[in-house]
Protein backbone atom coordinates (compact mmCIF):
# COMPACT_ATOMS: atom_id res chain seq x y z
CA UNK A 1 0.00 0.00 0.00
CA UNK A 2 1.12 3.51 -0.70
CA UNK A 3 -0.03 6.79 0.68
CA UNK A 4 -1.10 8.68 -2.42
CA UNK A 5 -1.80 12.38 -2.15
CA UNK A 6 -4.11 13.54 -4.88
CA UNK A 7 -3.65 17.26 -5.54
CA UNK A 8 -7.05 17.96 -7.07
CA UNK A 9 -8.37 20.96 -9.04
CA UNK A 10 -11.64 21.93 -7.32
CA UNK A 11 -14.20 24.18 -8.94
CA UNK A 12 -17.97 24.34 -9.16
CA UNK A 13 -19.18 26.71 -11.86
CA UNK A 14 -22.51 27.11 -10.01
CA UNK A 15 -20.92 28.68 -6.93
CA UNK A 16 -17.19 29.38 -7.42
CA UNK A 17 -15.68 32.34 -9.21
CA UNK A 18 -12.15 30.93 -8.96
CA UNK A 19 -10.88 27.37 -8.60
CA UNK A 20 -8.90 26.10 -5.60
CA UNK A 21 -7.00 22.89 -4.89
CA UNK A 22 -7.52 20.16 -2.30
CA UNK A 23 -4.95 17.59 -1.33
CA UNK A 24 -6.69 14.31 -0.55
CA UNK A 25 -4.66 11.41 0.86
CA UNK A 26 -5.68 7.81 0.20
CA UNK A 27 -4.09 4.45 0.94
CA UNK A 28 -4.13 2.32 -2.20
CA UNK A 29 -1.62 -0.09 -3.74
CA UNK A 30 0.67 2.05 -5.91
CA UNK A 31 0.05 -0.23 -8.88
CA UNK A 32 -3.60 0.85 -8.88
CA UNK A 33 -4.66 3.45 -11.42
CA UNK A 34 -5.18 7.16 -10.86
CA UNK A 35 -8.88 6.48 -11.43
CA UNK A 36 -8.84 3.89 -8.61
CA UNK A 37 -7.22 6.47 -6.34
CA UNK A 38 -9.87 9.05 -7.28
CA UNK A 39 -12.69 6.56 -6.67
CA UNK A 40 -11.21 5.71 -3.27
CA UNK A 41 -10.94 9.40 -2.42
CA UNK A 42 -14.56 9.94 -3.41
CA UNK A 43 -15.80 6.89 -1.50
CA UNK A 44 -13.74 7.31 1.67
CA UNK A 45 -12.80 10.97 2.03
CA UNK A 46 -14.90 13.47 0.09
CA UNK A 47 -18.02 12.42 -1.78
CA UNK A 48 -18.21 15.75 -3.56
CA UNK A 49 -15.12 15.16 -5.74
CA UNK A 50 -16.47 15.08 -9.30
CA UNK A 51 -15.06 13.28 -12.31
CA UNK A 52 -16.42 11.28 -15.26
CA UNK A 53 -15.87 7.53 -15.38
CA UNK A 54 -17.62 4.42 -16.49
CA UNK A 55 -15.83 1.34 -17.82
CA UNK A 56 -12.52 1.60 -15.92
CA UNK A 57 -10.75 -0.23 -18.75
CA UNK A 58 -10.00 2.32 -21.49
CA UNK A 59 -13.06 1.50 -23.57
CA UNK A 60 -15.57 4.22 -22.70
CA UNK A 61 -13.26 7.25 -22.97
CA UNK A 62 -14.88 9.11 -20.06
CA UNK A 63 -11.99 9.69 -17.66
CA UNK A 64 -9.61 11.76 -19.76
CA UNK A 65 -7.95 14.40 -17.56
CA UNK A 66 -4.63 16.08 -16.96
CA UNK A 67 -2.37 14.00 -14.75
CA UNK A 68 0.71 16.00 -13.72
CA UNK A 69 -0.03 18.26 -16.66
CA UNK A 70 -0.21 15.41 -19.17
CA UNK A 71 -3.58 14.60 -20.75
CA UNK A 72 -4.60 10.94 -20.72
CA UNK A 73 -7.02 8.35 -19.38
CA UNK A 74 -6.95 8.06 -15.58
CA UNK A 75 -8.00 4.40 -15.87
CA UNK A 76 -4.94 3.63 -17.98
CA UNK A 77 -2.40 5.42 -15.79
CA UNK A 78 -0.93 3.45 -12.85
CA UNK A 79 -0.16 5.67 -9.82
CA UNK A 80 3.44 4.50 -9.59
CA UNK A 81 4.18 5.83 -13.08
CA UNK A 82 3.19 9.39 -12.19
CA UNK A 83 3.53 9.97 -8.42
CA UNK A 84 6.54 11.86 -7.08
CA UNK A 85 8.73 10.81 -4.10
CA UNK A 86 6.10 12.16 -1.69
CA UNK A 87 3.35 10.25 -3.48
CA UNK A 88 1.77 13.42 -4.88
CA UNK A 89 -0.21 13.27 -8.12
CA UNK A 90 -1.74 16.44 -9.61
CA UNK A 91 -5.07 16.01 -11.35
CA UNK A 92 -6.70 18.73 -13.41
CA UNK A 93 -9.51 18.96 -15.95
CA UNK A 94 -8.58 18.63 -19.63
CA UNK A 95 -7.26 21.85 -21.18
CA UNK A 96 -9.04 23.39 -24.21
CA UNK A 97 -12.40 22.88 -22.43
CA UNK A 98 -14.46 24.98 -19.99
CA UNK A 99 -14.36 23.38 -16.53
CA UNK A 100 -17.80 22.53 -15.17
CA UNK A 101 -17.13 20.92 -11.85
CA UNK A 102 -13.77 19.65 -10.57
CA UNK A 103 -12.45 17.31 -13.28
CA UNK A 104 -15.66 17.41 -15.32
CA UNK A 105 -15.61 19.74 -18.33
CA UNK A 106 -18.16 21.01 -20.85
CA UNK A 107 -17.69 18.63 -23.76
CA UNK A 108 -20.14 20.42 -26.09
CA UNK A 109 -17.62 21.94 -28.55
CA UNK A 110 -16.08 18.52 -29.05
CA UNK A 111 -19.45 16.82 -29.67
CA UNK A 112 -20.62 19.67 -31.91
CA UNK A 113 -17.67 19.17 -34.23
CA UNK A 114 -18.25 15.45 -34.22
CA UNK A 115 -21.98 15.62 -35.02
CA UNK A 116 -21.34 18.10 -37.86
CA UNK A 117 -19.65 15.22 -39.67
CA UNK A 118 -22.87 13.20 -39.78
CA UNK A 119 -20.94 10.34 -38.18
CA UNK A 120 -23.04 7.52 -39.57
CA UNK A 121 -23.05 5.52 -42.78
CA UNK A 122 -24.91 7.14 -45.69
CA UNK A 123 -25.16 4.51 -48.43
CA UNK A 124 -26.42 5.32 -51.92
CA UNK A 125 -29.65 3.38 -51.51
CA UNK A 126 -31.98 2.54 -48.65
CA UNK A 127 -31.46 -0.68 -46.73
CA UNK A 128 -34.93 -1.96 -47.73
CA UNK A 129 -34.07 -1.53 -51.44
CA UNK A 130 -30.75 -3.24 -51.01
CA UNK A 131 -31.14 -6.98 -51.61
CA UNK A 132 -27.82 -8.24 -50.26
CA UNK A 133 -25.58 -7.30 -47.35
CA UNK A 134 -23.19 -4.40 -47.96
CA UNK A 135 -19.89 -6.20 -48.29
CA UNK A 136 -16.48 -4.74 -47.50
CA UNK A 137 -13.29 -6.54 -48.48
CA UNK A 138 -10.75 -7.26 -45.72
CA UNK A 139 -8.33 -4.80 -47.38
CA UNK A 140 -10.90 -2.03 -47.36
CA UNK A 141 -11.87 -2.79 -43.77
CA UNK A 142 -8.24 -2.76 -42.70
CA UNK A 143 -8.13 0.98 -43.41
CA UNK A 144 -10.95 1.61 -40.96
CA UNK A 145 -10.30 -0.62 -37.96
CA UNK A 146 -7.70 1.60 -36.29
CA UNK A 147 -9.94 4.65 -36.46
CA UNK A 148 -12.88 2.61 -35.26
CA UNK A 149 -10.93 2.16 -32.01
CA UNK A 150 -11.47 5.84 -31.19
CA UNK A 151 -13.34 6.09 -27.88
CA UNK A 152 -13.88 9.84 -28.22
CA UNK A 153 -12.08 10.57 -24.98
CA UNK A 154 -11.02 13.96 -26.43
CA UNK A 155 -7.43 13.56 -25.26
CA UNK A 156 -6.23 14.65 -28.72
CA UNK A 157 -8.56 17.64 -28.71
CA UNK A 158 -7.28 18.72 -25.31
CA UNK A 159 -3.67 18.37 -26.48
CA UNK A 160 -4.16 20.24 -29.76
CA UNK A 161 -2.27 23.57 -29.77
CA UNK A 162 -4.35 24.87 -32.68
CA UNK A 163 -7.63 24.33 -30.81
CA UNK A 164 -6.08 26.18 -27.88
CA UNK A 165 -5.82 29.39 -29.90
CA UNK A 166 -8.58 28.89 -32.50
CA UNK A 167 -11.60 26.79 -31.49
CA UNK A 168 -12.97 26.86 -35.05
CA UNK A 169 -10.51 24.10 -35.99
CA UNK A 170 -12.30 20.72 -36.17
CA UNK A 171 -9.60 19.07 -34.07
CA UNK A 172 -7.89 15.69 -34.50
CA UNK A 173 -10.68 13.32 -33.44
CA UNK A 174 -13.28 14.81 -35.77
CA UNK A 175 -10.92 14.65 -38.76
CA UNK A 176 -9.97 11.07 -37.93
CA UNK A 177 -13.65 10.21 -37.74
CA UNK A 178 -14.32 11.96 -41.04
CA UNK A 179 -11.65 9.70 -42.52
CA UNK A 180 -13.49 6.69 -41.15
CA UNK A 181 -16.49 7.49 -43.41
CA UNK A 182 -14.58 9.07 -46.31
CA UNK A 183 -12.70 5.80 -46.79
CA UNK A 184 -15.71 3.52 -46.20
CA UNK A 185 -16.61 1.92 -49.55
CA UNK A 186 -20.25 1.61 -48.50
CA UNK A 187 -20.67 5.36 -48.03
CA UNK A 188 -21.96 7.61 -50.82
CA UNK A 189 -21.15 11.04 -49.44
CA UNK A 190 -17.37 11.13 -49.89
CA UNK A 191 -17.40 14.42 -51.77
CA UNK A 192 -19.70 16.19 -49.31
CA UNK A 193 -17.72 14.86 -46.39
CA UNK A 194 -14.43 16.06 -47.87
CA UNK A 195 -15.91 19.49 -48.55
CA UNK A 196 -17.31 19.67 -45.02
CA UNK A 197 -14.05 18.76 -43.28
CA UNK A 198 -12.16 21.20 -45.51
CA UNK A 199 -14.57 23.91 -44.42
CA UNK A 200 -13.89 22.95 -40.82
CA UNK A 201 -10.22 23.85 -41.37
CA UNK A 202 -8.66 20.47 -42.13
CA UNK A 203 -5.54 22.29 -43.31
CA UNK A 204 -5.16 24.16 -40.03
CA UNK A 205 -3.48 21.07 -38.56
CA UNK A 206 0.00 22.29 -37.61
CA UNK A 207 1.75 18.91 -38.10
CA UNK A 208 2.79 18.96 -34.44
CA UNK A 209 2.04 15.31 -33.59
CA UNK A 210 0.62 16.24 -30.17
CA UNK A 211 -2.25 13.86 -31.01
CA UNK A 212 0.23 11.02 -31.46
CA UNK A 213 -0.32 10.47 -27.72
CA UNK A 214 -3.75 8.96 -28.48
CA UNK A 215 -4.39 6.38 -25.72
CA UNK A 216 -6.07 4.08 -28.27
CA UNK A 217 -3.35 4.40 -30.94
CA UNK A 218 -5.70 5.86 -33.51
CA UNK A 219 -2.87 8.22 -34.55
CA UNK A 220 -5.16 11.05 -35.70
CA UNK A 221 -2.05 12.81 -37.05
CA UNK A 222 -1.69 10.17 -39.76
CA UNK A 223 -5.42 10.16 -40.54
CA UNK A 224 -5.33 13.95 -41.01
CA UNK A 225 -2.66 13.44 -43.68
CA UNK A 226 -4.83 10.72 -45.27
CA UNK A 227 -7.79 13.12 -45.51
CA UNK A 228 -5.55 15.79 -47.06
CA UNK A 229 -4.38 13.27 -49.66
CA UNK A 230 -7.99 12.33 -50.39
CA UNK A 231 -8.81 16.04 -50.78
CA UNK A 232 -6.08 16.47 -53.38
CA UNK A 233 -6.82 13.16 -55.11
CA UNK A 234 -10.48 14.10 -55.52
CA UNK A 235 -9.55 17.74 -56.26
CA UNK A 236 -11.90 19.16 -53.63
CA UNK A 237 -11.65 22.90 -52.90
CA UNK A 238 -8.34 23.14 -54.70
CA UNK A 239 -8.38 26.93 -54.65
CA UNK A 240 -8.03 27.09 -50.88
CA UNK A 241 -4.66 27.80 -49.33
CA UNK A 242 -4.07 24.32 -47.88
CA UNK A 243 -4.12 22.35 -51.15
CA UNK A 244 -2.37 25.20 -52.94
CA UNK A 245 0.42 25.11 -50.35
CA UNK A 246 0.87 21.35 -50.68
CA UNK A 247 1.02 21.55 -54.48
CA UNK A 248 3.38 24.52 -54.69
CA UNK A 249 5.79 22.84 -52.24
CA UNK A 250 5.74 19.73 -54.42
CA UNK A 251 6.24 21.85 -57.51
CA UNK A 252 9.29 23.71 -56.20
CA UNK A 253 10.86 20.53 -54.84
CA UNK A 254 10.33 18.86 -58.21
CA UNK A 255 11.78 21.82 -60.12
CA UNK A 256 14.74 22.68 -57.91
CA UNK A 257 15.13 19.86 -55.40
CA UNK A 258 14.60 22.49 -52.71
CA UNK A 259 11.62 23.99 -50.96
CA UNK A 260 11.85 27.46 -52.52
CA UNK A 261 10.52 29.70 -49.76
CA UNK A 262 9.66 32.78 -51.83
CA UNK A 263 7.78 30.84 -54.47
CA UNK A 264 5.94 28.80 -51.83
CA UNK A 265 4.72 31.96 -50.06
CA UNK A 266 3.53 33.54 -53.34
CA UNK A 267 1.95 30.32 -54.55
CA UNK A 268 0.12 29.65 -51.30
CA UNK A 269 -1.23 33.15 -50.77
CA UNK A 270 -1.85 33.62 -54.51
CA UNK A 271 0.38 35.59 -56.83
CA UNK A 272 -2.46 37.97 -57.67
CA UNK A 273 -4.09 38.02 -54.25
CA UNK A 274 -2.95 41.53 -53.43
CA UNK A 275 -4.81 41.77 -50.14
CA UNK A 276 -3.32 38.48 -49.00
CA UNK A 277 0.17 39.48 -50.09
CA UNK A 278 -0.21 42.82 -48.32
CA UNK A 279 -0.83 40.92 -45.11
CA UNK A 280 2.47 39.05 -45.34
CA UNK A 281 4.28 42.16 -46.60
CA UNK A 282 5.07 43.76 -43.20
CA UNK A 283 7.03 40.71 -42.07
CA UNK A 284 8.67 40.55 -45.48
CA UNK A 285 9.77 44.16 -45.13
CA UNK A 286 11.11 43.54 -41.63
CA UNK A 287 13.07 40.57 -42.96
CA UNK A 288 14.32 42.58 -45.94
CA UNK A 289 15.57 45.30 -43.58
CA UNK A 290 17.70 42.65 -41.86
CA UNK A 291 18.96 41.16 -45.10
CA UNK A 292 17.04 38.00 -44.27
CA UNK A 293 14.66 37.64 -47.22
CA UNK A 294 14.86 34.24 -48.90
CA UNK A 295 16.19 34.45 -52.46
CA UNK A 296 13.53 35.09 -55.15
CA UNK A 297 14.76 32.11 -57.16
CA UNK A 298 16.45 28.96 -55.94
CA UNK A 299 19.21 27.37 -57.96
CA UNK A 300 18.43 23.72 -58.68
CA UNK A 301 20.50 21.20 -56.75
CA UNK A 302 23.06 19.07 -58.61
CA UNK A 303 21.43 16.11 -60.38
CA UNK A 304 17.96 17.59 -60.00
CA UNK A 305 16.84 15.31 -62.85
CA UNK A 306 16.96 12.46 -60.35
CA UNK A 307 14.43 14.26 -58.17
CA UNK A 308 12.17 14.75 -61.19
CA UNK A 309 12.49 11.05 -62.01
CA UNK A 310 11.27 10.25 -58.49
CA UNK A 311 8.25 12.52 -58.87
CA UNK A 312 7.42 11.19 -62.33
CA UNK A 313 7.76 7.59 -61.17
CA UNK A 314 5.26 8.15 -58.39
CA UNK A 315 2.81 10.19 -60.45
CA UNK A 316 2.44 13.02 -58.01
CA UNK A 317 -0.09 15.59 -59.13
CA UNK A 318 1.89 18.78 -59.60
CA UNK A 319 -0.07 21.66 -61.04
Amino acid sequence: MANIKLDIFRFDEAVDSVPHRDIVAVDVPETMTVLDALETAKAEVDGSISFRRSCRSAICGSCSMNINGVTGLACKTPCNTVMDEQGVIQVDPMPNFQPMRDLVVHMDPFWDKYTRLKPYLQPADKDEDHQTERRVSPEDMKKLVDVANCVMCATCYALCPVVSVDPSFAGPAAIAYAYRFIEDVRDSKREERLAQINEDYLWLCAHCYACSYCPKHVDPNDRIVDVKRATIKDRVMMNERGPRHALIVNKTVKQTGMLAETEVIQGTVGRFNFRGLLKVAPLGLRMAAKGKLPPPFVKPIPKVDEVRTIFDSLEVPVS
Binding site: P161, V162, A206, A210, M258, S313
Partner: protein
Protein backbone atom coordinates in the same frame (compact mmCIF):
# COMPACT_ATOMS: atom_id res chain seq x y z
CA UNK B 1 24.55 17.35 -14.10
CA UNK B 2 23.03 14.02 -14.98
CA UNK B 3 25.04 12.04 -17.48
CA UNK B 4 22.27 9.70 -18.54
CA UNK B 5 19.66 11.35 -20.65
CA UNK B 6 18.23 8.42 -22.42
CA UNK B 7 15.06 6.52 -21.73
CA UNK B 8 15.78 2.83 -21.29
CA UNK B 9 13.53 1.75 -24.13
CA UNK B 10 15.21 3.89 -26.74
CA UNK B 11 16.25 1.87 -29.79
CA UNK B 12 20.01 1.90 -29.28
CA UNK B 13 21.21 1.20 -32.80
CA UNK B 14 19.28 4.02 -34.41
CA UNK B 15 21.16 6.69 -32.51
CA UNK B 16 24.74 5.58 -32.07
CA UNK B 17 27.62 4.74 -34.37
CA UNK B 18 30.52 3.24 -32.48
CA UNK B 19 33.13 4.60 -34.87
CA UNK B 20 31.85 8.12 -35.20
CA UNK B 21 33.66 9.35 -32.11
CA UNK B 22 37.01 8.40 -33.65
CA UNK B 23 36.44 9.51 -37.22
CA UNK B 24 34.75 12.82 -36.34
CA UNK B 25 33.57 12.93 -39.92
CA UNK B 26 29.89 13.42 -40.57
CA UNK B 27 27.54 13.72 -43.47
CA UNK B 28 25.80 17.07 -43.17
CA UNK B 29 22.25 17.78 -44.30
CA UNK B 30 21.61 21.51 -43.77
CA UNK B 31 18.04 21.53 -45.14
CA UNK B 32 16.39 24.24 -47.26
CA UNK B 33 15.83 27.04 -44.74
CA UNK B 34 19.46 27.13 -43.56
CA UNK B 35 20.38 27.72 -47.20
CA UNK B 36 17.68 30.31 -47.84
CA UNK B 37 16.25 32.64 -45.16
CA UNK B 38 18.37 31.40 -42.20
CA UNK B 39 21.84 31.45 -43.73
CA UNK B 40 23.18 32.59 -40.35
CA UNK B 41 22.32 29.11 -39.05
CA UNK B 42 24.36 27.42 -41.77
CA UNK B 43 27.34 29.71 -41.20
CA UNK B 44 27.27 29.35 -37.40
CA UNK B 45 27.09 25.56 -37.74
CA UNK B 46 30.23 25.47 -39.88
CA UNK B 47 32.03 27.79 -37.44
CA UNK B 48 30.95 25.57 -34.54
CA UNK B 49 32.21 22.46 -36.34
CA UNK B 50 35.65 24.08 -36.57
CA UNK B 51 35.66 24.76 -32.85
CA UNK B 52 34.53 21.21 -32.08
CA UNK B 53 37.23 19.77 -34.32
CA UNK B 54 34.78 17.79 -36.41
CA UNK B 55 34.30 17.65 -40.15
CA UNK B 56 30.82 18.30 -41.55
CA UNK B 57 30.70 17.18 -45.16
CA UNK B 58 27.70 18.76 -46.82
CA UNK B 59 25.54 16.50 -48.97
CA UNK B 60 25.34 19.12 -51.71
CA UNK B 61 23.16 17.11 -54.09
CA UNK B 62 20.60 16.21 -51.42
CA UNK B 63 16.99 17.33 -51.92
CA UNK B 64 14.41 18.73 -49.52
CA UNK B 65 13.36 16.16 -46.86
CA UNK B 66 9.70 16.72 -47.72
CA UNK B 67 9.21 19.14 -44.82
CA UNK B 68 6.00 17.33 -43.74
CA UNK B 69 4.18 18.93 -46.71
CA UNK B 70 5.28 16.69 -49.60
CA UNK B 71 3.61 13.93 -47.57
CA UNK B 72 0.27 15.67 -47.96
CA UNK B 73 -0.01 14.71 -51.61
CA UNK B 74 1.57 11.28 -51.76
CA UNK B 75 2.75 8.84 -49.14
CA UNK B 76 5.77 7.57 -51.10
CA UNK B 77 7.45 10.62 -52.52
CA UNK B 78 9.18 12.00 -49.43
CA UNK B 79 10.43 8.55 -48.48
CA UNK B 80 12.07 8.01 -51.88
CA UNK B 81 13.53 11.55 -51.90
CA UNK B 82 15.18 10.76 -48.57
CA UNK B 83 16.33 7.34 -49.80
CA UNK B 84 18.13 9.22 -52.58
CA UNK B 85 19.85 11.40 -49.97
CA UNK B 86 20.89 8.32 -47.97
CA UNK B 87 22.23 6.64 -51.09
CA UNK B 88 24.40 9.72 -51.70
CA UNK B 89 25.67 9.63 -48.12
CA UNK B 90 26.49 5.93 -48.39
CA UNK B 91 28.30 6.46 -51.68
CA UNK B 92 30.48 9.06 -49.93
CA UNK B 93 31.14 6.69 -47.04
CA UNK B 94 29.17 8.92 -44.67
CA UNK B 95 26.65 6.80 -42.82
CA UNK B 96 26.28 9.24 -39.92
CA UNK B 97 24.15 12.14 -41.16
CA UNK B 98 23.73 15.28 -39.05
CA UNK B 99 20.80 17.68 -39.40
CA UNK B 100 20.26 21.17 -37.98
CA UNK B 101 16.47 21.34 -38.26
CA UNK B 102 13.84 19.63 -36.13
CA UNK B 103 11.54 19.06 -39.10
CA UNK B 104 14.32 17.54 -41.22
CA UNK B 105 15.28 15.31 -38.30
CA UNK B 106 11.78 13.95 -37.77
CA UNK B 107 10.92 13.43 -41.41
CA UNK B 108 14.23 11.96 -42.45
CA UNK B 109 14.14 9.57 -39.50
CA UNK B 110 10.53 8.62 -40.27
CA UNK B 111 11.46 7.87 -43.90
CA UNK B 112 14.47 5.83 -42.81
CA UNK B 113 12.40 3.86 -40.31
CA UNK B 114 9.83 3.04 -42.99
CA UNK B 115 12.56 1.92 -45.38
CA UNK B 116 14.39 -0.21 -42.83
CA UNK B 117 11.30 -1.83 -41.39
CA UNK B 118 9.50 -2.58 -44.62
CA UNK B 119 11.19 -4.54 -47.36
CA UNK B 120 8.52 -3.69 -49.90
CA UNK B 121 9.14 0.02 -49.42
CA UNK B 122 12.91 -0.41 -49.65
CA UNK B 123 12.44 -2.36 -52.89
CA UNK B 124 10.13 0.33 -54.27
CA UNK B 125 12.64 3.06 -53.39
CA UNK B 126 15.56 1.19 -54.90
CA UNK B 127 13.67 0.39 -58.09
CA UNK B 128 13.28 4.15 -58.62
CA UNK B 129 16.81 5.03 -57.49
CA UNK B 130 18.03 2.33 -59.88
CA UNK B 131 16.78 4.40 -62.83
CA UNK B 132 19.71 6.75 -62.22
CA UNK B 133 22.13 4.18 -60.91
CA UNK B 134 21.76 4.81 -57.17
CA UNK B 135 21.05 2.34 -54.38
CA UNK B 136 20.35 2.67 -50.68
CA UNK B 137 21.64 -0.22 -48.59
CA UNK B 138 20.00 0.82 -45.34
CA UNK B 139 23.14 1.86 -43.51
CA UNK B 140 22.48 5.51 -42.70
CA UNK B 141 21.62 6.97 -39.32
CA UNK B 142 20.12 10.47 -39.03
CA UNK B 143 20.72 12.57 -35.93
CA UNK B 144 20.29 16.18 -34.97
CA UNK B 145 23.40 18.18 -34.13
CA UNK B 146 21.94 18.53 -30.61
CA UNK B 147 22.09 14.77 -30.04
CA UNK B 148 25.55 14.53 -31.59
CA UNK B 149 26.81 17.27 -29.26
CA UNK B 150 25.70 15.27 -26.23
CA UNK B 151 26.44 11.72 -27.43
CA UNK B 152 29.72 12.26 -29.29
CA UNK B 153 31.24 15.42 -27.79
CA UNK B 154 29.71 15.00 -24.34
CA UNK B 155 28.43 17.61 -21.91
CA UNK B 156 31.57 17.40 -19.75
CA UNK B 157 33.82 18.06 -22.72
CA UNK B 158 31.54 20.81 -23.93
CA UNK B 159 31.74 22.47 -20.51
CA UNK B 160 35.54 22.30 -20.65
CA UNK B 161 35.58 23.89 -24.10
CA UNK B 162 33.60 26.95 -22.99
CA UNK B 163 35.73 30.08 -23.08
CA UNK B 164 32.90 32.61 -22.78
CA UNK B 165 30.38 31.32 -20.23
CA UNK B 166 26.91 32.79 -20.62
CA UNK B 167 26.95 34.49 -17.19
CA UNK B 168 23.66 33.00 -16.09
CA UNK B 169 21.72 34.26 -19.13
CA UNK B 170 18.20 32.92 -18.68
CA UNK B 171 17.51 30.89 -21.80
CA UNK B 172 14.21 29.16 -22.54
CA UNK B 173 14.53 26.02 -24.70
CA UNK B 174 12.12 25.60 -27.61
CA UNK B 175 12.49 22.11 -29.10
CA UNK B 176 10.28 22.11 -32.17
CA UNK B 177 7.78 19.29 -32.55
CA UNK B 178 9.57 17.05 -35.02
CA UNK B 179 12.73 16.51 -32.98
CA UNK B 180 10.69 14.87 -30.21
CA UNK B 181 7.39 13.67 -31.69
CA UNK B 182 6.31 11.13 -32.63
CA UNK B 183 8.32 9.38 -29.95
CA UNK B 184 8.49 6.13 -31.92
CA UNK B 185 10.35 7.95 -34.71
CA UNK B 186 12.71 10.08 -32.61
CA UNK B 187 12.90 8.49 -29.17
CA UNK B 188 16.31 9.88 -28.34
CA UNK B 189 14.92 11.45 -25.19
CA UNK B 190 11.55 11.77 -23.48
CA UNK B 191 9.17 13.70 -25.72
CA UNK B 192 7.07 14.68 -22.71
CA UNK B 193 9.92 16.14 -20.75
CA UNK B 194 13.08 16.50 -22.80
CA UNK B 195 16.08 18.25 -21.22
CA UNK B 196 18.92 18.05 -23.75
CA UNK B 197 18.66 21.77 -24.60
CA UNK B 198 18.55 22.65 -20.89
CA UNK B 199 21.66 20.53 -20.35
CA UNK B 200 23.50 22.28 -23.18
CA UNK B 201 22.47 25.74 -21.91
CA UNK B 202 23.69 24.82 -18.41
CA UNK B 203 26.96 23.47 -19.81
CA UNK B 204 27.50 26.84 -21.52
CA UNK B 205 27.01 28.67 -18.22
CA UNK B 206 23.47 29.83 -18.90
CA UNK B 207 20.44 29.28 -16.73
CA UNK B 208 17.81 27.11 -18.47
CA UNK B 209 14.23 28.26 -17.97
CA UNK B 210 11.57 25.58 -17.53
CA UNK B 211 8.13 26.43 -18.94
CA UNK B 212 5.17 24.52 -20.34
CA UNK B 213 5.61 25.85 -23.87
CA UNK B 214 8.97 24.24 -24.52
CA UNK B 215 7.56 21.15 -26.27
CA UNK B 216 4.64 22.93 -27.91
CA UNK B 217 4.19 23.92 -31.53
CA UNK B 218 5.39 27.22 -33.07
CA UNK B 219 2.72 27.07 -35.77
CA UNK B 220 5.22 27.44 -38.61
CA UNK B 221 3.50 24.96 -40.90
CA UNK B 222 0.22 26.89 -40.81
CA UNK B 223 1.60 30.43 -40.95
CA UNK B 224 -0.03 31.00 -44.32
CA UNK B 225 -3.19 28.99 -43.66
CA UNK B 226 -5.39 31.28 -41.61
CA UNK B 227 -4.58 34.76 -40.36
CA UNK B 228 -3.54 35.03 -36.76
CA UNK B 229 -3.54 31.37 -35.71
CA UNK B 230 0.16 30.56 -35.97
CA UNK B 231 0.99 34.04 -34.68
CA UNK B 232 -1.10 33.36 -31.62
CA UNK B 233 0.65 30.03 -31.02
CA UNK B 234 3.96 31.91 -30.99
CA UNK B 235 2.57 34.49 -28.56
CA UNK B 236 1.12 31.87 -26.23
CA UNK B 237 4.42 30.00 -25.95
CA UNK B 238 6.59 33.08 -25.62
CA UNK B 239 4.24 34.49 -22.97
CA UNK B 240 4.83 31.34 -20.90
CA UNK B 241 8.59 31.65 -21.33
CA UNK B 242 8.63 35.35 -20.49
CA UNK B 243 6.47 34.81 -17.39
CA UNK B 244 9.05 32.31 -16.12
CA UNK B 245 11.77 34.91 -16.42
CA UNK B 246 13.32 34.01 -19.78
CA UNK B 247 15.62 36.59 -21.35
CA UNK B 248 16.19 34.67 -24.57
CA UNK B 249 15.14 31.49 -26.38
CA UNK B 250 17.24 28.73 -27.94
CA UNK B 251 15.93 26.43 -30.66
CA UNK B 252 17.41 23.59 -32.72
CA UNK B 253 14.97 24.35 -35.56
CA UNK B 254 15.15 27.16 -38.15
CA UNK B 255 11.41 26.87 -38.83
CA UNK B 256 10.68 27.57 -35.16
CA UNK B 257 13.24 30.35 -35.39
CA UNK B 258 11.43 32.01 -38.28
CA UNK B 259 8.14 31.77 -36.39
CA UNK B 260 9.39 32.89 -32.96
CA UNK B 261 11.66 35.63 -34.27
CA UNK B 262 9.23 36.83 -36.92
CA UNK B 263 5.83 36.71 -35.24
CA UNK B 264 6.30 37.81 -31.62
CA UNK B 265 5.74 41.41 -32.66
CA UNK B 266 2.40 40.59 -34.30
CA UNK B 267 1.35 38.40 -31.37
CA UNK B 268 1.74 41.25 -28.89
CA UNK B 269 -1.82 42.51 -29.44
CA UNK B 270 -3.23 39.28 -27.98
CA UNK B 271 -0.45 38.10 -25.65
CA UNK B 272 1.36 41.28 -24.65
CA UNK B 273 4.89 42.21 -25.64
CA UNK B 274 7.44 39.46 -25.15
CA UNK B 275 10.31 40.46 -27.49
CA UNK B 276 12.42 37.43 -26.61
CA UNK B 277 15.47 37.16 -28.87
CA UNK B 278 15.84 33.65 -30.29
CA UNK B 279 19.18 31.93 -30.81
CA UNK B 280 19.81 29.08 -33.20
CA UNK B 281 21.39 26.28 -31.15
CA UNK B 282 24.76 26.42 -32.99
CA UNK B 283 24.94 30.21 -32.58
CA UNK B 284 24.88 30.12 -28.82
CA UNK B 285 27.19 27.11 -28.53
CA UNK B 286 29.65 28.62 -31.00
CA UNK B 287 29.59 31.93 -29.11
CA UNK B 288 30.39 30.25 -25.78
CA UNK B 289 33.16 28.29 -27.46
CA UNK B 290 34.79 31.51 -28.61
CA UNK B 291 33.50 32.27 -32.11
CA UNK B 292 33.31 36.08 -32.39
CA UNK B 293 29.72 37.32 -32.04
CA UNK B 294 29.93 39.35 -35.24
CA UNK B 295 30.48 36.18 -37.26
CA UNK B 296 27.25 34.55 -36.04
CA UNK B 297 24.78 36.61 -38.04
CA UNK B 298 23.03 37.91 -34.91
CA UNK B 299 22.29 41.13 -36.84
CA UNK B 300 19.98 39.08 -39.11
CA UNK B 301 17.52 38.43 -36.31
CA UNK B 302 14.37 40.54 -36.25
CA UNK B 303 14.55 40.66 -32.46
CA UNK B 304 18.19 41.56 -31.99
CA UNK B 305 19.82 39.40 -29.29
CA UNK B 306 22.78 41.70 -28.89
CA UNK B 307 21.16 44.10 -26.40
CA UNK B 308 20.57 41.36 -23.82
CA UNK B 309 24.10 40.09 -24.49
CA UNK B 310 25.47 43.54 -23.72
CA UNK B 311 23.32 43.71 -20.59
CA UNK B 312 24.72 40.35 -19.47
CA UNK B 313 28.27 41.49 -20.17
CA UNK B 314 28.72 38.90 -22.90
CA UNK B 315 29.64 41.38 -25.61
CA UNK B 316 30.76 44.98 -25.50
Amino acid sequence: MSATLLPEDRPADSHKRSHSAETKRYGFFPGCVAKESCKELFNSTMLLADKLGIELIELTAASCCGASVVNDTNRDIARVLNARTYAQAEALGLDDVITICSTCTGHMRAANKELLENEERMTQANSILGKFGAKYNGGVMVRHLLWMLIDDIGLDNLRKMVVRPLNGLKVAPFYGCHIIRPEKVNGWESARNPHSLEDVVAALGGEPVDYAGKTRCCGFHIQLEKDGVATSMVGQNMRMAKDKGAEAVITPCPLCHLALDGYQQDAASRWGRTDLPTFHLPQLVAFALGVPAEKLGLNKHLIDPRSIMVERDLIA
